[in-house]
């Protein structure tokens, strides 16, 4: 009893740390005196334990719930490789292209750092798109997770701006003409367009000043995204994760501790994700890049075919589907911005598409429309590709602006289970399952069956 650190009773009286507010440190028995000493002063151990160890997580999350963690892993890779690229990069029109070549050929391991950064951009967008469609399918944006959804959409937009700014930095032909096309698009806004473009690019044309600005923008936005991820995660941990049944957790029987159940489930996803990442970095470094970007920027010669990076292709397809400059720009921006309004466009109280037969079909069509737009954005806007891009664009807006508000009233949802732990079994399935397996069917497994019907 001589050492005050080992005492778990009346810490305030013995350490002099006031406890007028609820103590932030909530360590259970089993932690040593040094952990307790630190945790009373800065409750990092309590925080990590509360949010990542005992954190109650719905017990029925499937692998689609891995993709937020996967996007975070890709973001970490981007920031780390980005810092080391910034050390070797020269942000001037005269020096940028040569410095990128030097990174690939002279800087020690520079080729792998740059290849990881480029593949990282594709990996983060791939993860984000799956993550977003998962949220749409399972209604993860609905009450009480509207702000969580908004922070996520903010992250998506920030990621797009960052990716665009980053693509300008190598100062190749695609960098230059990509920046040129975007400046042109901004200029086409009525009234403010031209002054805005001049203000953004620091002159009437794209040049040294523009490159320097995009460099600062790209660098700063990377860290702002990190901050927005913190907001997103805080919002997530306030409401808790959504789940494939779309019903709220009603008690401890519906949850599992995050560790070891979801740390290990996420770890499996991360390993598979890193394998795909490594294949891109080491075996297909040129697969997702445009050969034209290895030709230095030339303001007097436009490449024959300007193609965006694949992750911008769907929105580029919307831009070209509309035979009006301003209209294309507005619809293209609108196809992203409409996502922000989804929690208020969707009128159905049922979260998961598993219990919404019509919405489920509409969601499948939305995914098809997105993939079609992606393909259209990578092809010349003529013939079948132009027609497809117009149909897909039409469906994109129809889905969000017409179907989402109307389906809530038209559709008859299936009966929701009482809780995550004990879903109510439809009698038909219970009979089949019991007969088929010769065993009493566990309730948790029935949820899986219903989805696979």
């Amino acid at each position: 009893m001589a050492d005050p650190l080992t005492s778990s009773t009346t810490p305030a009286a013995m350490t002099g740390i006031p406890t007028s507010r609820a103590p932030a440190s909530t360590l259970p028995d089993g932690y040593g005196p040094r952990s307790r000493w630190l945790d009373r002063r800065l409750p990092v151990i309590s925080l990590l334990r509360r949010e990542y160890v005992v954190y109650p997580t719905p017990r029925n999350l499937n692998y689609l719930w891995n993709f937020g963690a996967l996007a975070t892993v890709a973001l970490a890779m981007l920031i780390l490789t980005g810092i080391f690229l910034a050390i070797a990069y020269t942000p001037t029109a005269a020096g940028a292209f040569a410095s990128v070549e030097a990174i690939d050929r002279q800087v020690g391991s520079g080729w792998v750092i740059r290849s990881t950064h480029m593949a990282g951009a594709s990996m983060v967008f791939a993860a984000l798109y799956v993550h977003t469609f998962r949220s749409l399918y399972y209604g993860s944006y609905k009450e009480p997770r509207e702000v969580l959804w908004l922070t996520g959409m903010l992250l998506l937009v920030m990621m797009m701006v960052t990716a665009f700014a980053g693509y300008v930095l190598p100062w190749g032909q695609m960098s230059y003409w990509g920046a040129s096309v975007v400046s042109g698009a901004i200029s086409s806004l009525p009234g403010i367009g031209h002054p805005l473009a001049v203000w953004l690019q620091g002159g009437d044309t794209i040049g040294d000043v523009t490159l320097h600005r995009y460099y600062a923008l790209h660098f700063v936005l990377g860290f702002l995204i990190l901050g927005a991820v913190v907001l997103h995660v805080v919002a997530l941990h306030v409401t808790g994760s959504s789940n494939p049944l779309g019903i709220e957790v009603k008690g401890p029987q519906d949850t599992l501790p995050f560790h070891p159940y979801y740390t290990s489930k996420d770890a499996i996803g991360v390993v598979l994700f890193l394998i795909a990442f490594a294949v891109l970095v080491f075996y297909l470094p040129g697969w997702l890049t445009q050969p034209d970007n290895y030709i230095e920027a030339n303001p007097y010669s436009t490449p024959a075919d300007i193609t965006p990076e694949w992750y911008f292709a769907p929105f580029y397809a919307v831009l070209r589907a509309v035979p009006s400059q301003l209209g294309g720009l507005l619809l293209s921006a609108g196809s992203v911005l409409v996502l922000f309004a989804v929690p208020w466009l969707d009128t159905s109280p049922v979260h998961s598409a598993r219990f919404r037969p019509l919405y489920r079909i509409a969601m499948m069509l939305l995914v098809v429309a997105f993939l079609l737009l992606l393909a259209c954005g990578l092809h010349r806007p003529a013939g079948i590709w132009l027609a497809l891009s117009r149909i897909a664009t039409l469906y994109w807006f129809l889905h969000f602006l017409v179907l989402l508000p109307l389906l809530g009233g038209i559709e008859t949802p299936l009966k929701l289970p009482d809780s995550i732990g004990r879903p109510v079994l439809p009698p038909r399935q219970a009979t089949i399952s019991t007969a088929g397996a010769g065993l009493p069917m566990p309730d948790g497994a029935m949820a899986q069956r219903m989805e696979n019907d």
Binding site: G30, Y31, G32, S35, R59, L80, F84, I87, A88, A102, Q106, V107, G108, S109, G110, V112, I113, G251, P252, Q253, D254, T255, L256, P257, G421, R422, S433, G436, A437, L439, P440, M441, P442, D443, G444, A445, Q448
Partner: protein
Amino acid sequence: MAVQTDPQTAGPAPSGPDFSGPDFSGHDSHGHHPESGPRRDFLTLLTGAAAVIGAGAFAFPFLDSLAPVGGPDAADATVDVDLSKIAPGQQIVVVWRGKPVFVVHRTPKALLGLQDTNLTDRLRDWASRERQQPDYVVNWHRSIAPEYGVMVGICTHLGCVPGYVPNPSATDPVANWPGGYACPCHGSKFDLAGRVFQGAPAQYNLPVPPYSMPTRSSLRIGLSPDDLDFDFSTIRQL
């Protein structure tokens, strides 16, 4: 037909099996799992070791990228100088590895002065005993060809660039000045072979870089003559 038989998810009513998830009461604070024996400890150790090795391998390219790369300041950079453009008595300054290098065309009169015992008596190290130059220039003129002096123009006191004061003078910068270099910072003096004068703060002669003469009228600074070698980083004082 696959059936999930995890008893944690089964049970019709709260009165049935326990829903509250696994029992963690058997864990101590270090996450050991006494109830599952050494197998899980081994798997945890193996996973941890794989993660540590992976992190180490992943760290390598980042540290590797910070290593120096080639360029004008690199340790193996060389600079070529055309001596035919330098008039007798004239000095030029070239940049080699980021440092100023004096290349001076000494006149016959200046060369005679370098061998004058009245001068060498006033020098700290007239015979170049300290390692401030390659062995192949340890001679009375501290160079390969007597008429061309090559020295790194950084004062061995505190690193200023000495000024070129080639003409003899009775009073300036000091009494009985034979011609040489005078440092503006703390008054150190060197003769036209870069040898340091007594009575001033600098202790060592101006360093001579490795160099060679591919022809009689050209220098290659940074590269020793064939069959010879000199590592500039081994000099006593820069």
